[in-house]
């Protein structure tokens, strides 16, 4: 990318590099988006004990496997950051690609899981539990996909030794996506 950065981007009156500061603000706004959705779900779930019946049909093993996948991808992401810090762009890129692999696995497993559930009649309109289930997990999955795409672009740059500071930034975003799932998992799969 030959876009020349303005001096504004390179200053740092707070002591936090601009890119990282921006990503934290992004995270804060995403916290309230997911917070609103999950808060709404929680209030409905607590007020409707009869949803337990629907909730019983989510597959805890698949959910646990996906949790494992995302945790592992967070691990590879932070190792990528460590490599980028040490200046090793090629290693960082490879670790980012592994992380993207985790994202792809997550999405594939979820697609299979949903295909199974839908074919058994648990559609998004079946009842409000399922509506929340697909909406919350779907919004999360969208963030996984978007994150993976951006990660790919950053990995390509990092492989050429460019913009290595962005590896940390996509990492922070990725960990956030992982944290959302850490809460979605018990909400949708365990608390039945």
């Amino acid at each position: 990318m030959s876009f020349p950065k303005p001096q504004a981007t390179l200053r740092s009156a707070t002591g936090i590099p601009t890119g990282r500061l921006a990503v934290w603000w992004l995270i804060a706004s995403e916290v309230v988006i997911f917070g609103g959705l999950l808060g709404s779900y929680l209030m409905h779930r607590l007020g409707h004990p009869e949803w337990a019946d629907a909730a019983a049909h989510t597959n805890t093993w698949i959910g646990a496997f996906n949790t494992f996948v995302l945790l592992t991808s967070s691990f590879t992401a932070v190792l990528a950051h460590k490599a980028a810090e040490a200046g090793d762009g090629k290693k960082a890129a490879k670790l980012l690609v592994l992380t993207m692999g985790g994202a792809v696995t997550f999405v594939l497993v979820k697609s299979a899981e949903w295909a199974y559930e839908i074919s058994h009649g648990y559609t998004i309109t079946a009842n409000n539990f399922w509506s929340f289930y697909y909406t919350a997990a779907g919004l999360h999955a969208l963030h996984v996909i978007a994150g993976a795409i951006i990660m790919g672009i950053i990995a390509a740059d990092a492989y050429r030794g460019r913009e290595l500071q962005r590896v940390e930034l996509i990492g922070i975003y990725w960990h956030f996506v992982d944290v959302v799932w850490i809460f979605l998992f018990p909400l949708l799969y365990i608390a039945k």
């Binding site: 030959s2 876009f3 020349p4 950065k5 303005p6 001096q7 504004a8 981007t9 390179l10 200053r11 740092s12 009156a13 707070t14 002591g15 936090i16 601009t18 500061l21 921006a22 603000w25 992004l26 804060a28 706004s29 995403e30 916290v31 309230v32 988006i33 997911f34 917070g35 609103g36 959705l37 808060g39 709404s40 209030m43 409905h44 409707h48 949803w51 998004i124 309109t125 009842n127 409000n128 509506s131 929340f132 909406t135 919004l139």
Partner: protein, 572 residues
């Protein structure tokens, strides 16, 4: 935030000097320059204001002269009436007030006022505008699809907004919702730019309390927006699903709850009004300081008060729902917090008055607008107190009293604030001075007619006139001659006000084409944007002459100085 650190890598530095941006007409599409993007937001916002204003013209004609064939429109059907009032409100808040006050002036001014050469993420800035532009296109499209535009009020309560059988605007409702959601995304992205730029990219020497208040206001507004819109964005996705694929998030028969939407909407909706208030307040303070030749009375007081107001604004939202069937215990809590929030706002008015007191006041056009902002907003604010008390609100809710209240707050914000900022920074943006006489004619015409429009509406509201009714002839109690007289007065005043806007457009075009050339600093103001060319070049200052800052922004009439102003970048 105490230290400032400038880290410039030399390759990037020279590259930026050579980089002039896209040339010719392409620059209107591909430019990443914050000034160009600010202009784009401004013109889009002003264009949408024309549309929103036209809608007001049409429905006011219908209200004053029911059944009339409105010139330039035709007869207004009940469904069309609903679509007009819905989209008038939606457009004015999301496509006029926010883009003009926050995105346009924020984009234009923040880098200039903090001594930076651009926003920190110019390409994301461009992307924000493009998403915003798309949202405007989607909204306008929603008005022309089969079934017409969405007519369920800008608050879009389900089940009316969720079920096509009820709202009769299947496609229009969904497009409206998508347009609003896109606008939110655009402003979330834009907000990140503004906040990060202000926090990090200040000129060397510019400490936190040397930042001009208008920059603080726009950034605090962005923070309020970012932290409040999340739940509504989630709720909008849920509503969209209810509309299109038949989920039952807000359907009580399916275990959903329409009151949930109300809460999601107003949890955002109330902070939103402060989101638009703060930039207008900031603009007012800048102008008043400049034209009183006086320091702002209590910079830190004002800053902390605004922060406190912002925090408190998250605790008052259910005053919009007092009679919706919320738990009455919550109504008690929200009455107290709502009445509390009037205190910091009143305090801000006192600070402004204290700033004026003893100043050397010049009544230029921007100054007139700024003073009018304070006076008119005050009326809006005190009428809000009646509405904040849940007992009184039982009578006033959904009457024209509410409507007059929020026009007395929104109009100063969106219209008076905009004219204040526009007339003040026009010389910087276009390099020419505006004509003062025309400016004053426009000012008085607008302000007087504005009051003549809305004072009758207070009276009508107290008389029991409900909102969102397209023809009061169907209500015997509201169809008497006195009531109709008031409606006619309001409508005629609107026509007069619209006519006076022609003076403004004429002034703009004439000044731009052949106005007196403006120097760098025609108002003799202290802030950094006045130290560079009018209009500023790409990069704002030559790359090796970026300003350093030595003092605060309001050092006017300093006793040790001969001049009555002291620019921030002049070495001590």
């Amino acid at each position: 935030m105490a230290e400032t650190a400038v880290a410039v890598q030399s390759d990037e530095h020279h590259a930026h000097e050579d980089h002039h941006g896209p040339r010719g007409w392409l620059k209107y599409i591909w430019s990443t320059d914050h000034k160009m993007i600010g202009m784009q937001y401004m013109f889009t916002g002003m264009f949408m204001a024309l549309i929103g204003g036209f809608m007001a013209y049409v429905f006011r004609m219908q209200l004053a002269f029911p059944g009339i064939s409105v010139p330039l429109y035709g007869q207004v059907s009940p469904g069309e009436y609903n679509a007009l009032i819905t989209n008038h409100g939606t457009i004015m808040i999301f496509w006029v007030a926010m883009p003009v006050l926050i995105a346009a002036f924020g984009n234009y001014l923040i880098p200039l006022m903090i001594g930076a050469d651009d926003m920190v993420f110019p390409r994301i800035n461009r992307l924000s505008y493009q998403i915003f532009f798309l949202s405007a296109v989607v909204l306008l499209a929603s008005l022309f699809v089969e079934g017409g535009g969405f007519g369920g009020a800008w608050t879009a309560y389900p089940p009316l907004s969720a079920v096509a059988e009820y709202n009769q605007t299947d496609l229009g409702s969904s497009l409206w919702l998508i347009a609003v959601a896109l606008e939110f995304v655009a402003f979330l992205l834009g907000g990140i730019n503004f906040i990060t730029t202000l926090m990090n990219s200040r000129a060397p020497g510019m400490k936190a309390y040397d930042i001009p208040l208008v920059c603080w206001m726009i950034v605090i507004a962005s923070i309020l927006f970012m932290l409040s819109v999340g739940p509504l964005l989630a709720g909008a996705v849920m509503l969209l699903f209810d509309q299109t694929i038949g989920t039952g998030f807000y359907d009580p028969a399916r275990g959903g709850d329409p009151i949930l939407w109300q809460h999601l909407f107003w949890f955002f909706g109330h902070p939103e009004v402060y989101v638009v208030l703060l930039p207008a307040l900031g603009v007012t303070i800048e102008i008043i300081a400049t034209f009183s030749r006086k320091k702002v009375f209590g910079y830190k007081l004002m800053l902390y008060t605004v922060v406190a107001t912002g925090v408190l604004s998250f605790f008052v939202w259910a005053h919009h729902q007092f009679i919706a069937g919320i738990d009455p215990r919550m109504a008690n809590v929200f009455t107290v917090t709502t009445l509390l929030i009037s205190v910091p706002i009143a305090e801000l008015c006192f600070v402004i008055i204290a700033t004026l007191y003893g100043g050397s006041i010049t009544l230029t056009t921007p100054m007139l607008w700024a003073l009018a902002f304070v006076a008119e907003f005050l009326i809006g604010g005190v009428t809000g107190i009646f509405l904040g008390a849940s007992g009184a609100d039982i009578y006033f809710h959904d009457t024209y009293f509410v409507l007059a209240h929020f026009h007395y707050t929104f109009f100063p914000i969106a219209i008076i604030g905009t004219f204040a900022a526009f007339t003040y920074w026009f010389p910087k943006m276009f390099g020419k001075m505006m004509n003062e006489t025309l400016g004053k004619i426009h000012f008085w015409g607008t302000i007087i007619s504005f009051n003549v429009i809305f004072i009758p509406l207070f009276v009508l509201g107290m008389g029991g006139q409900h909102r969102r009714i397209y023809n009061y002839q169907h209500f015997p109690d509201l169809a008497g001659p006195e009531m109709y007289q008031l409606r006619e007065i309001a409508t005629v005043a609107l026509l007069v006000m619209l006519a006076f806007q022609l003076v403004f457009f004429y002034n703009c075009i004439r000044s731009w084409m052949s106005g007196e050339k403006a120097g760098k600093n025609p108002w003799k103001s202290n802030t950094l944007e006045w130290t560079t060319e009018s209009p500023p070049g790409h990069g704002n200052w030559p790359a090796d002459q970026m300003p350093n800052v030595y003092r605060g922004p309001y050092e006017y009439s300093h006793p040790d100085r001969e001049e009555d102003y002291w620019p921030q970048n002049e070495p001590t």
